[in-house]
C-alpha cells in the first residue's frame, strides 16, 4: 500500500464531503445570524428560547422561527458530510449508509471526527461489498437494492454505536470544552497562530490544515478558530492588491494586473489572489502575509468578534457578531500587509514591452471544432 497515495485519496474524499456540506452550513449559519442580529434590536439575547414562540410581537415570533430554521439546516451538517464522503468513496451506493450513519453521529454528539469516520466506514464498507459479492446474473439487482443499503447501513451503524461513537464523543466534548475554556492571552495566541498558518501558503497544505480544523471546530460550536481563519483568508490578497494601487512603481505590469484581480478575490474571500506575488518574491511576501493575517486574526478574536459561518467574503461580514470589530481587524491586517510589502520592495525598472501580452483573455475557443477533431 502506498501511504502517500492513500493520504491523497482520503483527503479528496473528505474535501468532497466538505464541499457538499458548506452550502448547508452557510444557509444555517446565516439564517441564525439574521434572527440573532434581528433579535438584538429588541434587546433579546436568547431568541432560541421557547418563550419567544408565543411573543405578542409577530416579528419576534418570526425571528424565533427563523432561528429554528437555522438549527434545522445545521442539524443536517453531519448526515450530509458523512453521506458525501461515502459517495466520494463508493458512488451512489454510499449515500444511504453514509446519511444514516451521520445522523447517528449527530445524535451521539460524536462531532466532526465521528462524521468523517462514519462517511469513510460507510463508503469503504459499500465499496467492499460491491467488489466482493458476486451474484448470479438473475439475482444481480439484489446487491444494489437490498444488500448494499441494508448490510452497508448495519455495519456502519454498528461500528459507530459500539466502537467509535463514545470515544469520539469524548474527544469532541473534551476538545470543545478546552478551546471554549481558553481565555485571554491563550485565546489571542491561538487566533494568531491560525492566522499565520492561513497566511503562510495561501490555499496550500498548511492553510488547508488550519481552515479545515477551524471548520471542524465550528461544527462543535467553537467559533474562535473559524473567526481567526476567515479574517486571515482575505487579508493577503487585499493587502497586496492595495499595495499595487498605492505604489505602482514597485510592481511589474503583470503584478499590477494581478493586484486588481487580487483585490476582487480578496473581497469574495479567495486567498489565492495573492499567489502571483508569493511566487515572484516569496521571501518578501510570505512574512508580510503571515504577520498581517496573524495580527488581523488576533485583533478580531481578542476584541470579541464572532463569525459563525465559514464565509470570509464581504457578503458575510454583516452576519458577524460585533462586525465593526471584525472589519476593523481586517483593515488593520490589510494595511499591515500593504505597509510591509511597500517597505520590503524596491522600485522596478518598468519594461514596457510586456504590457500588451498580459491582458489577453482566456478564451475557450482559440481553436475551431475542426482543428479539435482532426
Amino acid at each position: 500500500m502506498n501511504w502517500k497515495k492513500l493520504g491523497k485519496e482520503l483527503e479528496q474524499h473528505v474535501m468532497t464531503g466538505i464541499s457538499y456540506m458548506i452550502p448547508i452550513v452557510i444557509a444555517g449559519a446565516v439564517l441564525m445570524a439574521i434572527s440573532r442580529v434581528g433579535a438584538s434590536f429588541y434587546g433579546i439575547n436568547n431568541i432560541w428560547d421557547a418563550q419567544w414562540a408565543k411573543s405578542a410581537n409577530a416579528v419576534i415570533q418570526f425571528l424565533h422561527t427563523d432561528d429554528g430554521w437555522g438549527g434545522t439546516a445545521l442539524g443536517l451538517m453531519f448526515p450530509i458530510i458523512s453521506a458525501y464522503i461515502a459517495y466520494s468513496v463508493a458512488d451512489k451506493g454510499g449515500i444511504a449508509p453514509g446519511i444514516i450513519g451521520g445522523t447517528l453521529v449527530a445524535s451521539m454528539n460524536a462531532g466532526f471526527l465521528g462524521a468523517l469516520a462514519s462517511g469513510l466506514i460507510a463508503g469503504y464498507t459499500v465499496k467492499f461489498l460491491v467488489a466482493h459479492i458476486h451474484l448470479p446474473e438473475a439475482a444481480k439487482s439484489v446487491l444494489p437494492v437490498f444488500i448494499v443499503p441494508v448490510v452497508g447501513s448495519f455495519i456502519t451503524l454498528f461500528l459507530i454505536q459500539y466502537v467509535i461513537g463514545v470515544p469520539f464523543a469524548g474527544i469532541n466534548t473534551g476538545l470543545a470544552a478546552w478551546l471554549k475554556g481558553m481565555t485571554g492571552t491563550n485565546r489571542v495566541l491561538l487566533a494568531a497562530i491560525i492566522g499565520g498558518m492561513v497566511g503562510f501558503d495561501l490555499g496550500g497544505p498548511v492553510n488547508k490544515a488550519a481552515v479545515t480544523t477551524a471548520m471542524a471546530l465550528l461544527t462543535s460550536g467553537v467559533y474562535d478558530p473559524n473567526t481567526a481563519a476567515q479574517v486571515a483568508i482575505i487579508i493577503p490578497p487585499l493587502g497586496l492588491g492595495l499595495a499595487t494601487m498605492i505604489n505602482k512603481r514597485k510592481f511589474s505590469p503583470e503584478l499590477q494586473e494581478a493586484g486588481n484581480a487580487s483585490l476582487v478575490m480578496g473581497l469574495i474571500g479567495v486567498s489565492e489572489g495573492a499567489i502571483p506575488f508569493a511566487i515572484e518574491s516569496p521571501l518578501k511576501v510570505i512574512p508580510a502575509n503571515m504577520i498581517g493575517s496573524a495580527l488581523g486574526s488576533a485583533i478580531a478574536v481578542g476584541l470579541g468578534a464572532v463569525n459563525r459561518a465559514p464565509i470570509s467574503g464581504f457578503y458575510g461580514w454583516f452576519a458577524v457578531e460585533k462586525w465593526w470589530i471584525y472589519i476593523f481587524a481586517i483593515l488593520v491586517g490589510t494595511l499591515t500587509v500593504t505597509a510591509l510589502t511597500l517597505l520590503f520592495r524596491k522600485n522596478v525598472t518598468v519594461t514596457t514591452e510586456e504590457t500588451a501580452t498580459t491582458t489577453e483573455d482566456a478564451d475557450a475557443t482559440y481553436f475551431s471544432e475542426d482543428q479539435w477533431e482532426n
Binding site: S19, G203, Y366, N374
Partner: protein
C-alpha cells in the same frame, strides 16, 4: 497536428479555484500550442461538459480537482493525471507538460 488534452477542474467551494484553474490551463495551453478543453465542475453545475467524442480525442485527462470528479466513468481507460486544483494556478506549464509526458508513455 497539435497535441490535444482534456481536463476537469473542481474545488471544494466551487466558485473561484475551479474557474481560475480553467483559465490558467487554457492560457498556458494556448501559449504552448496545445489544444485543450476544460470542463468545470463548480457549485452551479458542470460547465463546458466534455462529451464522449471529446473524451476520445483527448490524449490524456488532467483532473485538477480537490473533490470527486462527477461522472468519472466517462474517462474510464484514459490516462489520468491527478493534481490539486491549485497546481495549474501555480504552474500550469508543469501540469500540461506532465500530462503530455503521460500521454506519451506506454
Amino acid at each position: 497536428m497539435s497535441r490535444k488534452l482534456i481536463a476537469v477542474t473542481a474545488c471544494a467551494t466551487g466558485v473561484a479555484h475551479t474557474y481560475m484553474a480553467e483559465k490558467a490551463l487554457i492560457q498556458q495551453a494556448k501559449k504552448m500550442g496545445v489544444l485543450i478543453k476544460v470542463e468545470t465542475q463548480g457549485a452551479t453545475g458542470i460547465g463546458n461538459r466534455l462529451n464522449a467524442k471529446d473524451c476520445q480525442i483527448g490524449e490524456a485527462v488532467i483532473f485538477a480537482t480537490d473533490t470527486k470528479v462527477r461522472d468519472s466513468d466517462r474517462f474510464e481507460g484514459k490516462k489520468i493525471l491527478q493534481v490539486n486544483v491549485s497546481d495549474p494556478i501555480k504552474n500550469a506549464q508543469k501540469v500540461i507538460e506532465d500530462a503530455l509526458a503521460l500521454a506519451d508513455q506506454n
